[in-house]
């Protein structure tokens, strides 16, 4: 090989550096596109929907006339479905995470459970809808209710909660467990008084991210056959009989038909009348606000956690 002159080497280095710079610019552009999409989305929905974003929009039911439609049944439905989802997914997911980290022995059963959780995370959400349609709606007879929808979404986010719980538990050093066991605590007491409290922020982060995912899920809820036009609210417990003797009415709302924010948006986007696009934009803005603020809380929690780590 011909030895290169200093000049040639300089050219070579300059060319290499140029390529580096060009690639960096490319990377920044790609990142900027992502950021741009978020801004464009939020901005467009805000601009289009601004007229409709007033108090009536939140206190009116959906209507045939675009300008009088609101999202009352949608946001109430979303809230109640999330309540059921959280009530089912949090205990199940945390318990499963604790079992896999603190109790499970290395054997084939544990392997199956772990492989299974990884695979479930890759199953399309609409397949969960089909599962719910076959099992919850028809086999268990829950019908097209808040309960069916909440349980469906709970199964959907279960892998997220389990993985977050496991990661949070794994970050706790083993000396904490050893210290607890050394003073005579049982395995469960160790979990109850040490592992769970220390893992709490991590678990909470996972739960919030899971719920933020569930709040925007549309396909599985459509699949179970949720109605898209609901002009009533689920029954409020104790409304008729007051505080006593009304325990039968306490959980009546879980069997009620419902609609949720994403379904309301879908319904409005698929109308041919462009007046409904305005409603879709306004509702989309509200939904984005919910999801983004939940994600922001999760990110902030994780950031604080990383700063406050004690060991």
């Amino acid at each position: 090989m011909q030895p290169m002159t200093t000049e040639q080497i300089r050219v070579l280095i300059a060319r290499g550096k140029l390529k580096d710079t060009v690639f960096q610019a490319l990377g920044i552009i790609c990142l900027a596109i992502g950021l741009l999409v978020i801004f464009l989305l939020v901005g467009d929905m805000l601009m289009r929907g601004l007229d409709r974003l007033n108090l009536e929009f939140f206190t009116e039911f959906a209507s045939r006339r675009a300008s009088q439609s609101g999202i009352l049944s949608a946001w109430v439905g979303t809230l109640l479905v999330m309540l059921v989802t959280a009530a089912a997914a949090v205990p199940l997911g945390v318990a499963a995470g604790i079992y896999l980290e603190e109790y499970a022995k290395r054997n084939w059963i544990t392997d199956i459970i772990e492989i299974n959780i990884t695979n479930l995370a890759a199953v399309p959400s609409i397949v969960y809808g089909l599962l719910a349609l076959g099992i919850f709606v028809y086999t268990f007879g829950f019908g097209q209710s808040i309960l069916s929808a909440g349980l469906t979404l709970a199964l959907l986010i279960l892998p997220i909660v389990i993985v977050a719980t496991r990661e949070a538990i794994r970050a706790i050093p083993s000396m904490i467990r050893e210290g607890s066991m050394a003073v005579g605590a049982t395995r469960w007491q160790t979990c109850r008084y040490h592992i769970i409290p220390y893992a709490m922020p991590g678990i909470l982060t996972g739960v919030i991210i899971g719920l933020a995912r569930a709040i925007g899920e549309t396909a599985p809820i459509i699949t179970i056959g949720a109605l898209t036009f609901i002009a009533f609210l689920p029954p409020v417990p104790f409304t008729a009989t007051g505080m006593d003797g009304a325990s039968a009415g306490l959980f009546d709302w879980v069997m009620s038909p419902f609609t949720v924010m994403p379904i309301q948006i879908f319904n409005w986007t698929s109308r041919p009348d462009p007046a409904f696009e305005v409603n879709a934009a306004a509702a989309g803005f509200v939904l984005m606000g919910m999801v983004l603020s939940m994600n922001a809380v999760a990110i902030w929690l994780r950031y604080r956690m990383r700063k406050n780590i004690k060991w």
Binding site: A96, Y103, Y138, W188, A219, I299
Partner: protein, 311 residues
């Protein structure tokens, strides 16, 4: 002394009894935790059971050969045809468009974040990507239909109001965060010494990234691409909103078409009686979808094992 031992005796048996109780409750708690972990396995069994039993009913009426070879999909018409290829073509075309966007963009962002960006940029960029990944797909559907399609129509005036192209492009943007984040993790796991070796030979950052880091992380990259494919194939709402829902056997992204997922949504929106052939088609379609994602996941695991680099 004797008085002491007399009062000691009941205490000892008390403690033994308490110990035994503790043992029982520990075992009980362990089985409860195990049951929670087993829910994920039950979910999988439930999914397979529901899809397979309903599909068996379906295939009693429609032959598998017709299902796989017919070129029309009109299950709800009097002249019913059940050619799943029609839906598969829509799914593959839209996924192809999405991956053509997501794989290059995701990989560039991952390389940029892991090899070029300083930690401060990374601290900001990762949450932004997470926010992008957390946007509800129904909102992305709105974005595709009302923002991206009109923009594309300025470039391609003949583009119809619903198209696989605009849905696929937006789906690609949606998948970018998944691919970027997983690929970045894989590349950051490559030991520093390999990069240092490359730099010591005089390689530039870009050269090192492409010729040293990417080959070393290739199994992780493959895994992230496979996850991207599963997301694309299983994505529902963007396609239901922006790609139109008419079955159309086409390989042209400029046309509207139904996918497996948007067909399921379309049927679920209607009012099909439980047990009818139309009701069974969505489970046959769901089974096909699950098998496609399963196929890609198996391929991904094989790729990972085949190309895994051990240090």
């Amino acid at each position: 002394m004797s008085a002491n031992s007399a009062s000691d005796l009941p205490q000892v048996s008390d403690r033994l009894a308490k110990n035994a109780m503790r043992h029982v409750s520990e075992r009980l708690i362990e089985s409860v935790l195990f049951a929670a972990a087993a829910v994920s396995v039950l979910t999988t069994i439930g999914i397979v059971y529901v899809l397979v039993t309903e599909s068996i009913h379906f295939f009693q009426n429609v032959s598998i050969v017709e299902f796989l070879t017919d070129t029309q999909w009109t299950p709800l018409f009097d002249d019913a045809h059940y050619g799943i290829m029609v839906l598969i073509s829509g799914t593959l075309v839209s996924s192809g468009v999405a991956l053509a966007v997501a794989i290059p963009m995701g990989t560039i962002i991952a390389i940029y974040l892991s090899e070029f960006a300083n930690p401060k940029v990374r601290e900001v960029a990762k949450p932004v990507l997470e926010l992008l990944g957390g946007i509800p797909t129904i909102v992305f559907g709105y974005f595709a239909l009302l923002i991206v399609t009109p923009l594309l129509q300025k470039i391609f005036p003949e583009l119809p109001g619903f198209s696989l192209l605009s849905a696929g492009l937006v789906m690609g943007i949606m998948i970018v965060p998944y691919i970027a984040s997983l690929s970045e993790d894989a590349m950051r796991a490559v030991p520093m010494s390999m990069r240092e070796g490359s730099y010591a030979m005089g390689a530039t950052k870009l050269y090192t990234a492409i010729h040293v880091v990417v080959p070393a992380a290739v199994s992780g990259l493959a895994a992230s691409y496979i996850l991207g494919i599963s997301r694309a194939v299983g994505e529902t709402m963007i396609l239901a909103v922006a790609a139109g829902m008419q079955p159309n056997l086409t390989w042209n992204p400029m046309e509207p078409a139904a996918t497996i997922t948007s067909y399921i949504v379309q049927v679920a929106l209607g009012d099909l009686p439980h047990g009818s052939i139309g009701y069974q088609t969505i489970f046959a379609a769901g089974l096909t979808l699950l098998l496609i994602t399963l196929l890609f996941n198996i391929l991904g695991q094989w790729l990972r094992r085949r190309f895994r680099e051990a240090y």
